[in-house]
Each structure stands twice: as C-alpha cells, then as structure tokens.
Amino acid sequence: MRKFNLWLILALLFGIGWSSCSTEETCRKSKTVLLGAKLYQDTLNTKTNQYVTLSYKADSLTSLGVGVNMYIYKSAKDLSEIKLPLDKLQTQSRFSIKFNEIYDTITVVYHNTDEYMSLECGCVRTHTIDTVLTTNHIIEKIQLSKPIINTTYVENIKIFIAK
C-alpha cells in the first residue's frame, strides 16, 4: 500500500509539472521563398575548340521588380548568383536586371501553392515556374533547372550571359 501511495504522489507531482508546461509560440522555421538564379557564360576552350559552360561573376549587378521602387541588388559586385522574390499575390513577376550597364527584363510566369506549416508559423506560399522569358541585350538565354520554389534555396534557373 505504501508503494502505491508513493507512486501516486510521484505521479501527481510529475503530472503537475507536465500540465504546467506552456506550448511554444514562436515560429523557428524559415518562411522565405526566393527564386534562385545562377549566372553562367559559355566560353570557348581553345584546346578542344569546344564551348564549355562556366560560372559567371558580374562586375556590377542591379536588380529590381518592374513597378517597384526598391532595389533587390544595387550595383552589387562579383555576384555569381541572385535570389529574387516573386510576387505572392500574382502569377507573373517581372524583374529589370542590369549587368555592367546593360538592362534586360526577365518575366517569370508561375502558379502558387499555399503550404500550411503550423499554427505558430502559419502558411507559406510556394511557387512552381511555368515559363521564364527574357529580353536578349546581355542575357543570351535562360534555362529552367528546378521549377519548384520553396523555403529550401536551390538553383531554379540558369541565366546565360552573352560574350
């Protein structure tokens, strides 16, 4: 009987502590969703006489959303990759990008998906790229690598710079 009583007391103390625990209210997960773009340039290998694709570093890069008065990058040096925020309330975003004083406009067409994370974190809106279009002043072409844009940063598109 004494054993039972001891267990009962221990259990009550344990339960009291348990019940008093408050639940976590802070979201500790990343909710940032950005399109990842890496810069490349096709370069002629003089030994083999064939073009090879190499990573490209822009001497100066400026980028902003069309219709937005806020820079994403302003005269950034030595960048070989950029991260662009898509408009979460639309299905198309246009970016003006300046490489070494030459402007191009990239248009990304996509569809949105809402992902519920938790009560604390709420929802995150992810995107799936349908099409990427570009003007060709300095950008030669754009290739789609991974169409899904979510909280995990990956290379979604490859931007090829003309020689």
Binding site: M1, L8, L12, L13, I16, S19, S22, T23
Partner: protein, 240 residues
C-alpha cells in the same frame, strides 16, 4: 511559475488527505474483502470480477488551476473497464474535447470533437503464493483511439514584403484522426469500491495528413503534437 506552485500545493494537499483516508479504509477493507490463496500454485479466481466506471479529473483540475494559460482546452472523458480474473482489463473510453488558442501574430485556432478508444490493460502485479490478494493494480496496456473533429484556423497572413500587400487565409475543416497509445498506471482502492489512480500515455498519430495541408492543432483525446504526444490522467472510479 506561481501557477505551478499553486497547482502543486493544492493537488498535494488533496492527495495527501485522500491517501491518509485510503490507508485507513483499505486496512479495514482488506481484512473483510480479500481472500487467501489456499493452495500453493493454484488461484481459483472467477473470470468475471465486475467492471469499473471511471472519470478522468485531470482536465478539470488543469482548467481550474491554469485557467489563464496561453490556450483554453476542455476534455470530458469516462471509461468502462471490465475486470477478468483481476488480470485482464478490456476498456472502452469515450470523451469530448476542444481547444481554442490565439497567438500574438493574430493566428487563431478553434476546434471541437468527440473521440473513442478501445484497448486492454494487464495487471502486472502477480500475487505470490500464500499471500493476500489486494484489489490494487499496476496496469500496462494499449489503446487504439479515433477522434472526429471540426476546426478552424483563422488569420494566417501571406505577407508580400517586396511587392506589397497581404492576403489572409482561413481554413475550416472536418477531419478524423487515428492513433495508438501505450498506457501504464496504477489503481488504488480508496474507499470500499471507490478507486483512485493515474496513468501516463505515449500516443502516436497514425494518419498525420499530407505535407503542407492544414492540421488540427489540438486533437480531442490525443492532445497537442504532430506525430507523437504524451498524456497524463488522474481517474476516480467505482467498481461494480
């Protein structure tokens, strides 16, 4: 912290007084109501030993003492537990519960539902040959639980920081969740056929839902938690 202390003191006082009474009454009760094993290795216990009706009082204590917590939750749970040979205890538990919670970021949750559990407990206390059989039990067992609930999650804001503007998302869903539990606890004869006891439960959700789809924050009978949860209960019961 002060709430915890308040809860601890009040509960301890209640329990100590209950235990003191229980010790007295059990001594008297065991004299008249226990029977002695007559032969060394043979226990002639009839199969049907009656049944127990129990009510879980832990949520009530929690609501009274921790009433201004970060969320409000309620649970009413009762169970009927058969007693076979003082060794096997098949059980049916039913209850209803719900919770509401508002966060500082304006997200809010509200959900209510009913649940049921089926399972069996085993008495791990085996009386030694020649000793008295006391009607106290150290139980271990398992449950399969299911809950059907309706819930709403409101004011989940999609912030469009760079381009400007926001959008609020609200979910209203009905769902059924299934889980299994591993249970351990004790039942102590408190006064005549009245029992007190506690149990601790480890619960595992069997259908968590798709990644990215809304999920209930609180599941009646299961509690809070995405894949597993712990639970604790104090029960008051009557043995028929």
């Amino acid at each position: 912290m002060s709430k915890t202390l308040k809860y601890l003191l009040l509960s301890s006082l209640l329990v100590f007084s209950a235990i003191a009474t229980a010790q007295q009454s059990t001594t008297n009760a065991t004299k008249s109501k226990t029977y002695i094993q007559e032969k060394k290795d043979t226990l002639s216990v009839p199969l049907w030993q009656g049944f127990m009706v129990e009510f879980d009082v832990e949520p009530l204590i929690e609501n009274v003492i921790l009433n201004n917590s970060t969320y409000t939750a309620y649970t009413y749970q009762g169970n009927i537990q058969g007693n076979l040979k003082n060794a096997y205890f098949p059980v049916v538990e039913i209850g209803l519960g719900g919770a509401s919670k508002s966060l500082t970021n304006s997200h809010s949750y509200q959900g209510d539902g009913m649940y049921g559990k089926l399972g069996v407990d085993f008495n791990l206390l085996k009386p030694k040959p020649g000793t008295k059989i006391i009607k106290n039990y150290f139980l271990a067992g398992a449950r399969l639980g299911a809950s059907h609930l309706n819930y709403t999650i409101d004011n989940l804001t999609i912030a469009n920081d760079y381009w400007g503007g926001t959008e609020d998302i609200n979910y209203s869903r009905a769902t059924t969740k299934v889980w299994f539990e591993v249970v351990a606890g004790v039942r102590v004869s408190f006064f005549k056929n009245i029992y007190l006891g506690w149990s601790v439960r480890n619960k595992h959700l069997l259908n968590q839902g798709k990644y990215g789809s809304p999920k209930p924050w609180y599941i009646p009978g299961y509690g809070i938690g995405n894949s597993s949860a712990w639970g604790f209960s104090y029960v008051v019961g009557y043995h028929f």
